[in-house]
Symmetry: D2
Subunit: 356 residues, 4 copies
């Protein structure tokens, strides 16, 4: 199979680098077109990121010599990409993502810009793979033939939404109180000042609580006619904190369902949970999307974030709650499952479904 030619919008930033890094050796996709601001355009990628390459391993060999293209040259991207990942900041995403889609290039975005656009799906493939069905409608709405926009949700909710969804169908989620302890990589680079986080906890991440509370409604929602209707059957309340960790967002979750599940029902639901990515054996799909650890002191951020290459959600400490019904702790890797890895899984789903 010939690999699809992938463009990365915002390829020099931290999420862009994650895409380049994680796509190395991907069986279906090749990050062959690296797009950045006009200031970086024309440089070799290795020069463009010199002194600010933040991944654990070196720049993939084949990416080093790629010439960075300007975001303004949409035609060039159109000729050279089968689709693009957008790792743009939200304000720039607003300007460019629609232009790319309009030009016929499918855009898979990490930005928050279009998360609540009514005909744009916000995908976690294990949860709402069927939301891709909005794409023909989106194209129709906008008069686009080939391009479309698909987004992924905020990283903070990845550590608890799949475990809640695994129970939602049968027991009906009603209320959840969530406190997150989020890693600094979530703020990009330079992101959080070291002076602010050493020996400290910062109990605010701007906009994060609102995203954590609202995005699940769309993800668990349905296509109704030419737009999404949100699931208003539950309420989430989130406290979002920044803590002194590199990678990995942890969430302490207290939850209530319409029908209280038993401990065994919960553990069984989590153990057996599989989604479309697992059925389709997508390359980035974790084998076991929800890993429950029996040890009393797990998950731990450093020890569990890399489970199944950072794509699994690891949970533990299921116990009854004095106020709601159940409590547990969830963890996911914010820059893999919560960012570029999640984006790649979306692309794999779209490819498998014939949209790429």
């Amino acid at each position: 199979m010939k690999k699809l030619r992938v463009g990365v919008l915002g390829a020099t930033g931290m999420i862009g680098q994650n895409y380049v890094f994680l796509l190395e050796g991907h069986p279906w996709f090749e990050a062959s077109h690296l797009i950045a601001s006009p200031a970086s355009a024309g440089k070799k990628y290795s020069d463009a990121v010199a002194g600010r390459w933040h991944m654990k391993k070196d720049i993939p060999q084949n990416a080093k010599d790629l010439k960075v293209c300007s975001i303004t040259d949409v035609e060039n991207s159109k000729r050279n990409c089968d689709f693009v990942f957008s790792a743009l900041d939200s304000d720039i995403a607003k300007e460019w993502e629609e232009k790319y889609a309009e030009a016929g290039i499918p855009v898979l975005s990490n930005a928050s810009t279009h998360r609540h656009t009514s005909d744009v799906p916000m995908l976690i493939p294990e949860i709402n793979a069927s939301h891709v069905d909005i794409i023909p409608i989106q194209r129709k709405n906008r008069g686009w033939k080939k391009g479309f926009i698909v987004v992924k949700p905020n990283c903070s909710l990845q550590s608890y939404l799949a475990p809640l969804y695994a129970l939602h169908g049968k027991f009906k989620l009603r209320k959840a109180v969530i406190t997150t302890m989020q890693a600094v990589s979530g703020a990009g680079h330079p992101g959080v000042s070291s002076f602010d986080i050493i020996d400290n906890v910062i109990p605010l991440i701007k906009g994060e609580e609102e995203k954590s509370e609202k995005e699940p409604r769309k993800i668990l929602g349905k296509i109704d006619g030419n737009k999404f209707v949100y699931d208003e059957s539950f309420e989430i309340s989130a406290h979002c904190n920044r803590v002194n960790t590199i990678d990995g967002h942890m969430a302490c979750v207290s939850v209530e369902f319409e029908k209280k599940p038993s401990r065994e029902e919960i553990l069984k639901s989590w153990k057996n949970f599989r989604g479309v990515p697992q059925e389709l054996k997508l390359p980035f799909a974790p084998e076991q999307p929800i890993i429950y650890r029996e040890e009393a002191n797990r998950p731990q951020t450093r020890l569990d974030r890399d489970n199944d290459k950072g794509m699994a959600v690891t949970i533990g400490r299921l116990r009854e709650c004095n106020v709601l019904q159940w409590r547990f702790v969830g963890l996911s890797h914010n820059t893999v499952r919560g960012a570029a890895g999640g984006g790649i899984l979306n692309a794999e789903l779209l490819k498998a479904k014939g949209y790429l």
Copy 2:
């Protein structure tokens, strides 16, 4: 005024050191009798803690040359102490605290051993100063003339209990879901392995959630006859996490009252909150026991733990909750307000009330 002669049981451990450290220059008390295991007995205090003095400043000059006394020599302590602080581990506290009290020495303990003993008060002087009235009953129950045992609660609840209590009288606390992010000093020394906490969060502190949930019932309870009855009118559910900070326990609190207070009522209750220690102008009493910070990103562990010499609780981020009624963030210094400083404030209360 002649200072009272204070003994410290477990003077070489980390909490014991905190007592020696914080009592330096105290206007009423002098840490003149340092008590430890027979292994340390007879040594100069500076030798006994050589290489393991963990305070920010040097050993107080007057403590350096004190000869450490053996815990087994109760008679010696009886001759030389007006009362003792107990910084013993719980299992050792079980063995010795009653012996000291029986010998006529008032014992103010940090250990968890007697927290739920029915005639032992668990004091936060701003909240339940009247609980000292159990002391004559305790003495009578046990046939003790001069000795008694008083305890302080666990450090984890100090960051939220006073703020909740300030509202409880008028609005009646019903439910609270709490997530703590606790500093490593709470585990003593050596306590948490550095290998376990660098770039990590540990979502378990053994026994801490149970303490956080149950101790408030006694603290907010009442004396009924010869024992305490607990306040069963509310439910607390706690997640307790260890994070990578030296000092300072933070809590994210979601709360519901019988009667929902308005934002103004809450802020006013906190601002005006004063307790017996403030009325009596006790030396360790913080001027403003609950400090509310208006900035959106406060309290922060490193920036706010030392407010009013570590004795104030600092809170912020009051906002409505989607699931319960209100949310806020609280912070207190675990080794000052939550340990030795709290113990000293208890002693000041007892002195002012004539029990010492």
Copy 3:
């Protein structure tokens, strides 16, 4: 005594905040004139630093309501300041410090701009207080009547230069190999990205090694005619590293003298070392400028940086060196002794010597 009216150039930045913070309650000086870029001018100081006040305690009460003045309004500063501390970045310092001095305002600078200007003294008052004698010459060189410029050296060398100087007179320093482990506050705010320093060491701080090697030559140099001649009698080689600490620069020092001192001679020289600030009993002068700790594992960054309010240098681990003659470890507080505290001590010296 009426306090001198002090201006702070760059009052909203991190070093500027340190000046405002440390000058609170100063017996001679009052930070009454806070100067910043035109963008901040006209705002209340508390508004100008809202959300970015980085000190451990709140903004001093008297500073909160001061109206920030524009750096461009030199006349205003001239009317309202007896002298200014400059906490400007080097490039801006280049533009403004001479203008202020020319206008008749003595400038005490933290910037590197004039450190090697031939008639500007670079002061560590315990070492080279006599260098203030260049001031009349500087004024004459430039035709200034009242204004002048004085600078302080880089923070990195404070942890080893005083200990070396204490031995230099008698034994003659010849060679020193130095490795520093420097705190993140040295880079200001936001400074070092948390993503870059958690679980990491960065073995480069741009320009720091050159400063560490060259500045000591001027500090230990002499006035010769209308300029300084540098002390070329020794060589320093420095490795400068950034480590994961908030405050406190540590240095591992290996050193050789013309005449090898004995262990006793070294310890005695350090113990007895006093400088002009101690003789004059300047308010910010540490009582014991060089504190030697006998414990094998001291100094430690967190435990010793605050010694004598952050103004003392703490050293330890004196032992023979296999390659040069002696080894030791030094530590000083980079934002106190190494920045604003050092600047204030310079001002006190200049006041005592009649230059302010």
Copy 4:
């Protein structure tokens, strides 16, 4: 090829776990015999390490169900192991390693016990592979037929010794001043207290400086008759510090040779450096044993410790030294190259040379 049956002495401790972890899937060796104190004997390995497994991934599947054997049952080990890795503490190593060797079991030790035993080789295979030739002599000295003892050096010197050795042959190392910044995993588990290292540097690791200075003499020494003679032609002086990192020891090195090499000669020597493990293509041999990074701010602990699976030494910042001749920074992974990985490479060398 049938895999050799490998025993691990001290399999439940942190280095022992590293052996079990790193040997998973090894082409030549299988960790089939896990040996610990009598207290653990008889338990399943997964039970014996429950709650204290410290590796990044789970216990290898095949190790989970292995029954832990008692160190005292030497006969059992003799029947079931072709050789053993010893991850014992030095004091226990003293008691048991010779017993195992005497019983005919080759012992490859991480302990410091036999590092200066005159007929025991201390191997870094890239440097002194020929030192295995002492084994027949050792056997003869002691009357052993099959067993022998081989050790690996301390982890701290791995970050600088290979780079110095690569130049020693041609230019003759004379003097080196070294400062290390070492990770907490070097102290095992629980090792360094978190309270001691957060926001701190500890300038002492007991015994580490002596090892760093003395062990290189034996490693670079020669077999002379029935024992090793040490290389006394150079002097190393080391400062060893503990810093707040999980894994990875960094060293700042200043060095002088008999004949000063040029920059080009140094870089070429490093680039071309290969040893016996590379020639023999041993499975754990890094392809490029010394990686020189051109970027001014590399190596960095977190970014470079895992290079070539943690077996390469990464260096950078080569520049002239004002006091000696050259300066550079080196880094190696202390628990891989510096501990279990280095031990496995030694075993591979011994297997290739016919001693296993």
